[in-house]
């Protein structure tokens, strides 16, 4: 694949300025520095772009792509920069194209239960604007207060409610995409079924900006469930907690969420939040949410799941039915990543996913690796989906060199077990991006990897669309 690009010259800058206007183009180091990294480790992955563009329309993006195509300039599309795999980092320099100014809701269609919005709208803001309709977008990435719709689609973001509602892709009915050559295409629409030709829309979902730029999307909406309640269930060991997950799923009740938090994650988050939850003797907790439209049904399901936990080694079953208490316990879960960063900013947030029946096997492997490499590996995540965020945390006593040497060795071992032994995948919702591309190549069978390369080659022969991501 091509990796030879044209540097941006003053005359190319002028061409770009003529398209987006001078307010939507900047090159000063201080401002473009913000676009050189995402939520991955800045020390390990950041790279400066040559220019940042903040276009305000699809037409502008199309014209920019035509210029990039003509001169062979790499273009890195960017949402909120809340990604966790380095997908928005311009490792070949060139243009960062941020959709931050394209943040409007274009249409709420209550008859068809859809909303059409621009790619730069913040996920939470979309739901705020939908509030009056009693409808909502069921995607629930944990960064919903900052992340953009376009980024959610490009990464096929999951999150805390995927057990019941699935991931972002389930809700994307249609989208507008600008291709690497600058063509504007409309994929899908408001229809709920569509087998007219290859499912290109699905190809773009989770493509991490490597095949084109998503500029608008039409999202399927659901009625807001009126009632939701939570259980917070402590267990003596992580194994006890994880072992209950498949049993819950078997009951015929589909919880909205089954989140897992191990002892280290709980301790770090509770101390970060000044939360005095009793943790003595606790090895792990499950946070379970049930929602629905009938209050009695929600209560009934909550008790049934709670009883099941009680019968399977739960130390206690806490319930949170009102908004204040629910927010209190969700806040512990949401703040884990931030709390771990406070403990040690050098870390690697992992995202493996395994068949749910295999979740109990992941933890002993982590424990063994933690001992072997003398590294703390707090683990939490979406147990109901088999998606766990084990986080490799640099031992504050070891040097950066030691970390850089140990981290890939540990990950190779871990991924080999996840993929080879358990039939899992190395990323469930964060994406391959920059961070996992070499591991991805290692664990992917050759014929499959070649197919992926062929798709990329067909759609982006000059390799200008977010080059260096997913594929090596």
């Amino acid at each position: 694949m091509n990796t030879s690009y044209t540097a941006i010259t003053p005359s190319i800058l002028e061409e770009l300025k003529a398209i987006v206007g001078e307010h939507n183009l900047f090159t000063d180091t201080e401002r473009i520095e913000n676009y050189s990294h995402d939520e991955t480790s800045k020390e390990q992955f950041s790279h400066m772009p040559e220019v940042v563009l903040t276009p305000i329309s699809t037409e502008q993006i199309s014209e920019v792509m035509k210029v990039a195509d003509r001169y062979t300039i790499p273009v890195t599309p960017r949402g909120a920069g809340s990604g966790l795999s380095g997908g928005a980092i311009p490792i070949h320099g060139g243009i960062v194209l941020s959709v931050e100014k394209m943040n409007k809701v274009l249409e709420i269609d209550e008859a068809n239960l859809t909303v059409t919005a621009e790619a730069g709208i913040v996920t939470n803001e979309l739901n705020e604007q939908l509030k009056r309709t009693g409808l909502f977008f069921a995607g629930y990435p944990m960064s919903l207060e900052t992340c953009f719709l376009g980024g959610n689609i490009a990464e096929n973001a999951g999150g805390g409610k995927a057990v019941k509602y699935g991931v972002t892709g389930r809700y994307v009915l249609g989208m507008e995409v600008v291709t690497p050559q600058g063509e504007v295409v409309q994929l899908g629409g408001k229809v709920t079924k569509d087998v007219s030709g290859y499912d290109l829309k699905q190809l773009y979902i989770g493509s991490e900006g490597t095949l084109g730029i998503i500029t608008k999307a039409t999202i399927r909406l659901l009625g807001v469930p009126k009632y939701a309640s939570n259980l917070l269930v402590p267990f003596r060991t992580a194994q006890d907690a994880i072992s209950v997950v498949p049993l819950i799923m078997k009951q015929g009740i589909i919880p909205t969420s089954i989140e897992f938090m191990d002892k280290s994650s709980l301790e770090m988050s509770c101390s970060y939040l000044n939360e005095s939850l009793p943790l003595e003797g606790v090895g792990a907790m499950l946070l379970i949410e049930i929602d629905g439209t009938d209050e009695q049904q929600v209560e009934h399901d909550l008790i049934q799941v709670g009883d099941l936990c009680s019968g399977h080694k739960a130390m206690e079953v806490y319930i949170a039915e009102d908004a204040t208490t629910r927010e209190r316990i969700w806040s512990i879960r949401r703040n884990i990543a931030e709390a771990i960063k406070v403990y040690s900013p050098i870390q690697s947030l992992e995202d493996v996913v395994v068949p749910i029946g295999s979740i109990p096997l992941v933890l002993p492997c982590l424990e063994q690796l933690s001992g072997k490499y003398n590294m703390r590996i707090p683990c939490y995540g979406h147990a109901g989906d088999g998606n766990l965020h084990a986080t490799l945390v640099k031992n504050p006593e070891s040097s950066m060199e030691e970390w850089l040497e140990m981290e890939p060795r540990l990950l190779s071992e871990f991924y080999a077990f996840i993929v080879g032994e358990l039939g899992g995948k190395i990323s469930g919702e964060h994406g391959i991006g920059l961070k996992r591309r070499s591991f991805f190549k290692d664990v992917t069978p050759r014929p499959e990897y070649q197919l992926l390369c062929a798709v990329k080659q067909a759609l982006d022969p000059k390799n200008i669309m977010n080059p260096g991501k997913i594929l090596l």
């Binding site: 005095s276 008790i303 009680s310 319930i319 009102d322 908004a323 209190r328």
Partner: protein, 270 residues
Amino acid sequence: MHSIVLIKQVPQTSDVQMDKETGTMIRSGSTSILNPLDVYALETALQIKDRNGGRVTVITMGPASAVKVLKEAIAMGCDDVYHLNDRAFAGSDTWATSYVLAKAIEKIGIPDLVITGERATDGDTAQVGPAVASWLDLPVLTYVASIENLTSDSLIVERLIEEGYQRVQSPLPALLTVVKEIAEPRLPTLRGKKRAMATNIVTWSASDLDADQAFMGLRGSPTRVVKIATPKVSRQCRMVKVEDDDSLIEAVDQLFTFLEERDLLGGLNA
């Protein structure tokens, strides 16, 4: 040690919408929850029970839906609950409400401690607790941040006041209104919830209380809401641009003059 905790059901603040015409709260459609500050009162009473033994009794006055907050109190570990529910109570202001609550406490029997939250998040008056103490002729300790020494006939508390903390000793029985920092509320448990579901909640009407009906409800309330207005916040700011050292000194001078004119410098300019 017997504690009686007074709790209230309030609209969830994130749900509250104001009627722009009348300036009043639109209550229909909003979710009702246990007053978030009352959870600290419940926790305080439960911790006293954990340490000293005894019972925690909870009273709420309100419509049929208020049973929900009593069930939450049981789920947290409270022992007995009473629901004061009668059309005659409707529209009571803080004076009438405190009268009804005091009558209920008298009927149960004066406990060692009556504990309330600092205030309710809807009315925001912080009057009901002290008024109940007044009806019952009990010493009242407001804004209690910690309890230091609780014996069978007295206690020492730290009150949160503007300048810091004030230590006060009081004989028992007494009424305390507590602030958030007194305790971290425990989470309700499934066991507690099941107990709550099985509990038959005692409801008392006006006639059960041996109370004077002229002192309750809208007619028994001396408070008259004459007008509700939303305060308009207007800020008059003056922008001063600083470009170099000279204009910085000038800007600081202007800031001092601005504060001096408004008498906001206190002793600083002396």
